[in-house]
């Protein structure tokens, strides 16, 4: 009962403040950006510059092969302006590539350098086989360079046929991918919703420290932990509402909202408790802010791994935001795993309780009057 009245009081106070509305406004802005500025699917076309150092017949044959994948089946004559020079080129556009055929190796080299794209000269070796001279930036990985150096040792047609015959077996059939727009939801909910709790709880506490509210609580029959928890609840409510503002219009009613609410609450509770714990070590916001800022940056690293398939080293997986992001992703996947978000929620809840208990001990020690 005491908890409930404490929560109600905090809620009324929060509704009079500026922060509550900033959170909601921020969620609406993010939603508008996701709906109107983030494309359904990012197009990932790469640009290449080629010079065909081949006999005329060979050039035509090479262009014919490229034209098979061209969107309109036509070569477009274009001019490219770069580094103060103008280059004439023939452009072929497929779903994945924009290929410019230039009239000299120097033009390929210049454009590869100034535009930071791949350049290549196609020529014939002494055995009349196609060979390539690639112009790379220099920072590409050795593995990529290795692949490029042998990629055209075998005829493209032969390779294509063999690749098509290469068998692929899948462990779980019927996976339905999500759109790129939907894929942006987990980081937005995690970073803007769940993690902000850390920052905001610390700010709350310093405000109360300045005003002596916590010290005052220490001499009332009500316990400090109940007071802290009522603050956390207000924050969790804000996280839930702002999270739903972003998720519902994008995902509709196709996802398990029970799981989403559970994970939002568990992760929000964990980060709020962490914010409280950090705040308990410092006597002003500025000092604590340095640590929170640093921690926030570390917690953002799994965000990079989230968007780069194939890059998730072990140490990234042990940063709490990794399971947080994967948990939110699992919830929005059409046939997502239910166990994983449940386990993740349980983990964050347990972690949050431990951190909260530690915080309570620290506040009891430091706020004795």
């Amino acid at each position: 009962m005491k908890m409930w009245s404490s929560f109600k009081k905090e809620l009324i106070l929060a509704s009079r403040g500026f922060y509550f509305y900033v959170e909601l406004g921020f969620a609406i802005v993010i939603l508008l950006v996701v709906l109107f500025a983030v494309p359904e699917d990012f197009s990932t076309t790469s640009t290449e510059y080629l010079f065909l150092d081949l006999p005329r017949q060979g050039q035509e044959a090479f262009k014919d092969v490229l034209l098979e994948n061209d969107i309109d089946g036509k070569i477009e004559e274009v001019e490219i302006e770069a580094g103060g020079n103008i280059y004439t080129a023939q452009l072929m556009v497929s779903d994945e590539q924009e290929i410019y055929i230039l009239d000299s190796e120097q033009a390929v080299r210049d454009l590869a350098y100034s535009e930071r794209n791949l350049g290549a000269v196609v020529q014939l070796d002494e055995d009349n086989r196609l060979s390539y001279r690639y112009y790379l930036q220099g920072y590409e990985s050795t593995r990529l360079k290795n692949l490029l150096s042998i990629l055209f040792n075998e005829s493209t047609l032969v390779l294509e046929e063999r690749i098509n015959n290469q068998e692929v077996k899948v462990l779980t059939a019927g996976f339905e991918p999500i759109t790129d727009r939907e894929n942006t939801i987990p980081p937005l909910v995690a970073f803007s919703g769940s993690l902000m709790g850390m920052f905001v709880m610390a700010a709350y506490i310093f405000l109360d420290k300045k005003e002596g509210v916590i010290e005052a609580y220490a001499v009332t029959p009500s316990s400090v932990w109940r007071y802290l928890l009522s603050k956390v609840f207000v924050l969790l409510l804000t996280t839930l509402v702002s999270g739903l503002i972003i998720v519902v219009p994008v995902m509709g009613f196709s996802i398990n909202y029970g799981l989403l609410l559970l994970l939002l609450l568990a992760t929000g509770f964990f980060s709020s408790a962490l914010g409280l714990l950090i705040a308990s070590f410092y006597d002003n916001m500025t000092k604590a802010f340095g640590v929170i800022y640093f921690l926030f940056f570390i917690l953002m690293v799994p965000g990079i791994a989230y968007f780069i398939p194939g890059w998730d080293p072990f140490w990234v997986k042990i940063i709490p935001t990794y399971p947080m992001l994967q948990g939110f992703k699992e919830i929005i996947l059409p046939k997502g795993d239910i166990i994983y978000p449940l386990l993740t929620s349980a983990g964050f809840l347990a972690g949050g309780l431990v951190v909260f208990a530690l915080t309570n001990i620290r506040f009891k020690r430091t706020l004795r009057v």
């Binding site: 390539y132 790379l136 150096s149 462990l171 500025t286 570390i298 690293v301 990079i304 780069i308």
Partner: protein
């Protein structure tokens, strides 16, 4: 007046140093810069991850290692378990007539295609020693992702500087010393500049250190400092608005979050929005700052271009200041 500005700066520095604040603000970006150095090669070496049965075909494992990351597992069951884990790892397993690729089913298509290609190259006996292509490197050593992370860090430093200013003012406000300025010989302008210099100092020193730590030795430090100063102007204005118009840390925290949105949006706009659509970001000083930093880090621009970018930032800041000046002055009263 300069003497008074200097005194305010020294006083802020003394207070911040006493509380280790400035050292924090200076040190954190540097630690993050070291972190970027640590992350960057690992991300740049990202390739497909393949899981193979250990000892089953050592030649194949050695071959794949030249093109992909190879994980050797105890047996087929372990490979299946690894493929079924949360990250994108594909298995290459033997069957009656060759090898098949084992996927979990949710990997990006490009990853599966790469694994298929590698196995075909291996089965076609295409060896690195027989490479017919020549590779010429154009001498760039910094990968684009590293450049992007450093650029983001530079913007964050400026924002951090703004926060330092706002918190300094907020603490004066809480201690009720802002109004006291009015009865001292120090003018409001001197107070504003004095308070601002601390943040600017932190921003410029941290930014230059970050640029050097991350290995951009050849960039024009003068150009970089100019952009940092111009972005700090944005933070300065916002820092003052936050500090003077917030009654408590909660409000300042809310304003910080509001500030992150145009910054993140500008970065995303510059990196992901193509061609003429970038015009929608021209209003944002962060967009121009990011663009200018990108040019400096890539060592691809001219002083004229930089002056134009910085000029645009200053004009936008001027407009913001003109709009907000009455609130700053009111806050000082």
């Amino acid at each position: 007046m300069i003497k008074r500005i200097w005194f305010i700066f020294l006083r802020d520095m003394r207070i911040n140093l006493r509380e280790l604040m400035t050292i924090y603000m200076l040190a954190i970006p540097l630690i993050l810069a070291v972190g970027i150095n640590f992350l960057s090669p690992s991300i740049n070496d990202t390739s497909v991850n393949l899981a193979l049965v250990e000892g089953e075909n050592q030649v194949q494992a050695a071959y794949f290692d030249d093109f992909a990351h190879v994980h050797l597992m105890a047996d087929e069951q372990a490979v299946r378990g690894r493929v079924g884990a949360r990250d994108d790892v594909l298995g290459v397993l033997a069957q009656e007539n060759g090898y098949y690729i084992l996927a979990q089913g949710n990997e990006p298509e490009s990853v599966v295609e790469y694994a298929r290609l590698l196995n075909v190259l291996y089965e076609s006996d295409v060896q690195l020693e027989d490479a017919r292509s020549e590779i010429i490197e154009l001498g760039r050593t910094v990968p684009p992702l590293k450049k992007m992370l450093v650029n983001i860090l530079l913007l964050l430093i400026s924002m951090l500087a703004g926060m330092l200013i706002s918190v300094n003012i907020l603490e004066e406000k809480v201690d009720q010393t802002v109004a006291a300025i009015n009865v001292t010989p120090t003018s409001r302008r001197a107070f504003i500049l004095g308070k601002g210099i601390t943040g600017m100092f932190v921003a410029v020193v941290s930014s230059i250190a970050v640029i050097l730590i991350t290995g951009f030795y050849n960039v024009n430090i003068g150009q970089a400092a100019l952009v940092v100063l111009s972005v700090t102007m944005i933070s300065l204005i916002i820092g003052f608005l936050q500090g003077l118009n917030s009654d408590d840390f909660m409000e300042a925290a809310g304003s910080v979050k509001l500030l992150f949105l145009p910054m993140a949006g500008s970065i995303a706009g510059y990196e992901f929005v193509k061609g003429n659509w970038q015009i929608f970001f021209y209003w944002s000083p962060f967009y121009w700052a990011y663009r200018a930093n990108d040019m400096i880090l890539a060592q691809s621009g001219t002083w004229l271009q930089l002056v134009i970018y910085v000029g645009i930032i200053m004009v936008i800041c001027g407009v913001i200041y003109a709009l907000m000046a009455p609130r700053v002055i009111k806050g000082l009263q």
